[in-house]
């Protein structure tokens, strides 16, 4: 019973931290997207756009290095894409955090499961999957 209770409280702490982590990630990425969006509208608001046909090379910021280079030049689209990246990495960060919390709880089975999920996501980071 006492060990049950201790685990319960440890779980509660972890959940509070997890909730905060998710919230901070969302707020940070939304702020970056908004800043980029305002810059984009300010400079390009009258430009005509056409999204009728999908063209893989059109967006220009379709890899992490390209986004980071664009970010250095303060390119508005690169800033939006960086905000999107922050958003994508928020749930990934929470997987990493969960792995550490399972490690503290000495729940090695779930450390392995977490590492497995993380490695699948990291594998998708390599652009091997896009032919």
């Amino acid at each position: 019973m006492s060990s049950d209770k201790r685990n319960f409280f440890a779980d509660r702490d972890i959940q509070v931290i997890l909730g905060t982590l998710l919230r901070v990630g969302v707020i940070a990425s939304m702020s970056v997207v908004m800043i980029g969006g305002l810059l984009y509208l300010f400079s390009d608001h009258a430009v005509l756009i056409d999204y009728r046909n999908f063209n893989p090379d059109k967006s220009g910021f379709s890899s992490i290095p390209a986004i980071l280079i664009g970010l250095k030049d303060l390119d508005s689209k690169a800033i939006i894409q960086f905000g999107t990246l922050l958003l994508i990495f928020t749930p990934v960060a929470r997987v990493v955090f969960s792995i550490f919390s399972f490690l503290i709880e000495r729940d090695y089975l779930y450390v392995l499961i977490g590492l497995f999920v993380l490695s699948i996501i990291l594998y998708s980071l390599s652009d091997k999957l896009v032919g």
Binding site: K58, P91, L109
Partner: protein
């Protein structure tokens, strides 16, 4: 169309999608994809890329609130994510090889199914019987707070739920949606997890599942900043407002109206897909 006009229309549409989505429990992508493709003539591949980003935004945004209440079962989430992340990537890789008209038809069918699931009265089948060996081995059984105190629950048919989640992940990666309706089947109907736990846990999982396929979309150039920006901002603002009014309003009537709208959109998507207009 000019960038400004396009941004304003998408922003307004995404806001409405996020608002109604959070009130009825259906994800924003269900409205976003038809809005972009049917109304604004955007290629479905761009619409999928924008939609998946909105899925991550709503998942992380609402999961942040749920997780703190201690209802989410992180172990169940992590365990099932093994299935959903692999299959989401498979779906995301396959989607570009599929003819857009096929994607439209599959999307329409999933929409019809989601609309039906939304109005069907759900039966709570959770119980506290002894669960199988797999649930014990993976420590999936848990507790959650209710008004009458902390309640225990047992998880059933782990393998069946796992396979169903694999399917949900493929659909999610293929269409850029959260596929919540399929996750409900896996968790409520097959694994018999209590509603509150399954809803919050599936919401929590959606972000991770979507992140896996979003990276594939990003590499392929399907996430266009000009579309993703108003979609993300609109959906998140709408969903935040929706979750605040949810507590005060009765949503039964709204659900029926929304189910009708979704059914109409579904038929449009299927028609356009079959006639090759998309």
């Amino acid at each position: 169309m000019s960038v400004l006009l396009f941004t304003i229309i998408v922003l307004a549409g995404a806001f409405l999608a996020g608002l109604v989505g959070s009130l009825t429990g259906l994800g924003g992508g269900v409205i976003i994809i038809p809005l972009l493709t049917l109304v604004l003539g955007v290629d479905i591949h761009y619409a999928i890329g924008a939609s998946i980003v909105s899925v991550i935004a709503t998942s992380s945004g609402s999961a942040a609130a749920y997780v703190k209440e201690g209802i989410t079962n992180i172990r169940i989430g992590m365990f099932l994510e093994m299935a959903t992340t692999i299959s989401a990537i498979i779906g995301a890789v396959v989607t570009v090889y599929l003819d857009p008209s096929y994607i439209a038809v599959i999307f329409g069918l999933i929409l019809l199914f989601s609309a039906a699931m939304m109005i069907v009265k759900k039966l709570d089948r959770s119980d506290n019987d002894t669960s199988g060996k797999l649930a014990m081995f993976f420590k999936l059984n848990g507790t959650y707070p209710t008004e009458e105190g902390v309640k225990k629950y047992a998880v059933h048919r782990v393998l069946g739920g796992f396979i169903m989640m694999f399917f949900a992940g493929i659909i999610s990666g293929l269409l850029g949606i959260g596929s919540g309706a399929l996750k409900v089947i896996a968790m409520d109907n097959i694994m018999r997890i209590p509603f509150k736990v399954s809803t919050t846990t599936s919401n929590f999982m959606m972000g991770v599942t979507a992140a896996a396929s979003a990276i594939v979309y990003l590499h392929r150039g399907q996430i266009d900043p000009g579309i993703a920006m108003p979609v993300t901002i609109g959906v998140l603002c709408g969903a935040t407002l929706g979750s605040k009014i949810l507590v005060k309003t009765k949503t039964d009537k709204l659900k029926v109206v929304f189910a009708a709208v979704v059914t109409f959109l579904a038929l449009q998507m299927i028609y356009n897909g079959l006639s090759g207009k998309l």
